[in-house]
C-alpha cells in the first residue's frame, strides 16, 4: 500500500474536518451500494431472481442480456466498484490525498455507467428494477458528496 503519509495541507482544521466528514459520509453511502450489489450479484449467480418470484421489473432487467458483461454479472462489477469507492473514501477521510483524487475518477466513471444503465432500463428493456434504481441513487449521491468535498478542498487551496 502507498506509504504516503496523511497530508495535512496546512489547511484550516475546520476544512479538514468538514472534508473528513464528507468522505466518511461517502464511505457509508457506498456501503449501501455494496450491500445492494452483493445481493443482486448473489441472486444473479444463483439464477434465482431472474425467474419470476417477487418483482416483475427485476425479472425483466436481470434476465436481459445487459445484466452481464462478458459473462460477468454486472452486479458483481458494481460490488467491486462500490468497494473501491468505500476504500478510497475511507482513505480520503484520513487525509490520503491520492485517494481523494482517484475517487473523483472512479465516481465519474460509475456515474457514466449508471446513466447508461438507466437509459437501457427506460428505453431498451422497458422495465425498472428497484435494486438497480437504488444503486443509481447511491451513485448519484456519491457524485454529489465527492463533488462537494473536492470543491471545498480546491477552494481552500
Amino acid at each position: 500500500m502507498n506509504s504516503q503519509p496523511p497530508a495535512t495541507d496546512g489547511l484550516d482544521p475546520r476544512t479538514n474536518r468538514r472534508r473528513a466528514i464528507l468522505y466518511g459520509l461517502a464511505a457509508v453511502v457506498s456501503l449501501i451500494g455494496l450491500g445492494d450489489s452483493i445481493y443482486l450479484a448473489v441472486e444473479h449467480m444463483a439464477g434465482r431472481s431472474v425467474r419470476c418470484t417477487i418483482v416483475h421489473g427485476c425479472s425483466a432487467v436481470l434476465s436481459s442480456p445487459y445484466a452481464s458483461f462478458r459473462g460477468i454479472p454486472l452486479a458483481l462489477i458494481g460490488a467491486g466498484a462500490y468497494f473501491t469507492v468505500f476504500s478510497l473514501a475511507t482513505l480520503a477521510a484520513f487525509e490520503y490525498k491520492f485517494a481523494a483524487r482517484l475517487l473523483v475518477f472512479v465516481v465519474a466513471g460509475m456515474l457514466l455507467v449508471t446513466l447508461w444503465l438507466l437509459y437501457l432500463q427506460a428505453f431498451v428493456i422497458e422495465a425498472f428494477c428497484q435494486f438497480c434504481l437504488l444503486s443509481a441513487l447511491v451513485t448519484l449521491a456519491l457524485t454529489v458528496i465527492v463533488f462537494v468535498a473536492r470543491r471545498s478542498s480546491v477552494r481552500e487551496l
Partner: protein, 233 residues
C-alpha cells in the same frame, strides 16, 4: 495507529462483505426445496421429485406431442412472466427439432398478485383450451406479452386474441369466468405447490426439475438428447 486505522476498516469491511455474500449464496442454494439429495451435474436435471402425494394437475393437461413420447417437458409458467416469455421460443424450437419424440405440457402457475394480468391470461388460455385451441391462445399471449403487459385491463386484449384465433366468442366469454377454468388453474397450482415450484418458469424433464440456468437451447437440447439416448432412441 492513525495511519493503520483506515486500512483496518477497509479490511474489516472486505471480510464482512465476503461473509455476507457467502451467507446469501448459501441461503440461495438452500432455499429451493430439494426432495432428494442433488447429485446430478449442474447442467443436468435434478433427481426426480417424489411422486407420492403429488397431484396430477389439470386433466387432460395442455400438451403438444404424443402421450407415448419418450421425453416429457412439463413447464409451470406464468403468461406475464418475462423469463417465461423468453423461454417460449426456446420450447417451440425444441418441439420443432424433436417432433413426436418430445411432449411439452404447459401448467398454469400465475404469480398473483405480482403479475396483475397473469390470472386473466391463464383463464383466457384455459377457456380457449375448452374449445381445443389452448396452444393457439398460449402462443398469441406469449408472443404479444409486451403489448398487453402494461395494459390497464388486459381482458379486452385477450378477447381480441380469442376472436383472432376463431373461438366461439359466446362460449369463450362464458368459459373464461367458469368454474371449470378456475378448477384447472387451481389443480395445476396444487401440483406446482406439491412439486415445490418456487417461481416461473420451472420445467421438469421426465419428472426431474431442470435447473433454471439450463433453460437455454444448447443445454436443453443436450438434456433432451440424453433422455432420448437413455430411452434407446
Amino acid at each position: 495507529m492513525k495511519r493503520a486505522l483506515p486500512f483496518i476498516i477497509i479490511l474489516v469491511v472486505l471480510v464482512s462483505a465476503s461473509a455476507v455474500a457467502w451467507s446469501l449464496k448459501e441461503s440461495a442454494t438452500n432455499d429451493p426445496p430439494t426432495p432428494t439429495p442433488t447429485v446430478a451435474p449442474s447442467n443436468s436435471a435434478s433427481p426426480a421429485a417424489p411422486t407420492r402425494s403429488v397431484p396430477p394437475g389439470a386433466e387432460p393437461p395442455n400438451a403438444i406431442g404424443p402421450a407415448t413420447a419418450p421425453v416429457t417437458l412439463e413447464e409451470f409458467g406464468d403468461f406475464q412472466c418475462p423469463p417465461c416469455g423468453l423461454l417460449h421460443p426456446v420450447l417451440k424450437k425444441m418441439e420443432q427439432e424433436f417432433g413426436d419424440r418430445v411432449r411439452v405440457i404447459f401448467r398454469e402457475y400465475p404469480l398473483v398478485p405480482t403479475h396483475k394480468h397473469a390470472l386473466h391470461a391463464a383463464r383466457a388460455a384455459e377457456a380457449a383450451g375448452l374449445q381445443g385451441k389452448f396452444f393457439q391462445m398460449h402462443d398469441m399471449i406469449f408472443e404479444n406479452q409486451k403489448a398487453w403487459d402494461k395494459a390497464f385491463d388486459a381482458r379486452l386484449i385477450f378477447e381480441d386474441y380469442a376472436q383472432k384465433i376463431g373461438l366461439d366468442m359466446e362460449k369463450y366469454r362464458k368459459d373464461v369466468t367458469s368454474q371449470a377454468v378456475e378448477q384447472r388453474i387451481f389443480l395445476d397450482g396444487k401440483r406446482a405447490h406439491a412439486l415445490g415450484v418456487q417461481g416461473t418458469p420451472t420445467v421438469f424433464i421426465n419428472g426431474r426439475e431442470i435447473p433454471f440456468q439450463s433453460l437455454e437451447p444448447g443445454k436443453l437440447r443436450a438434456l433432451i438428447s440424453n433422455e432420448l439416448a437413455a430411452a434407446g432412441y
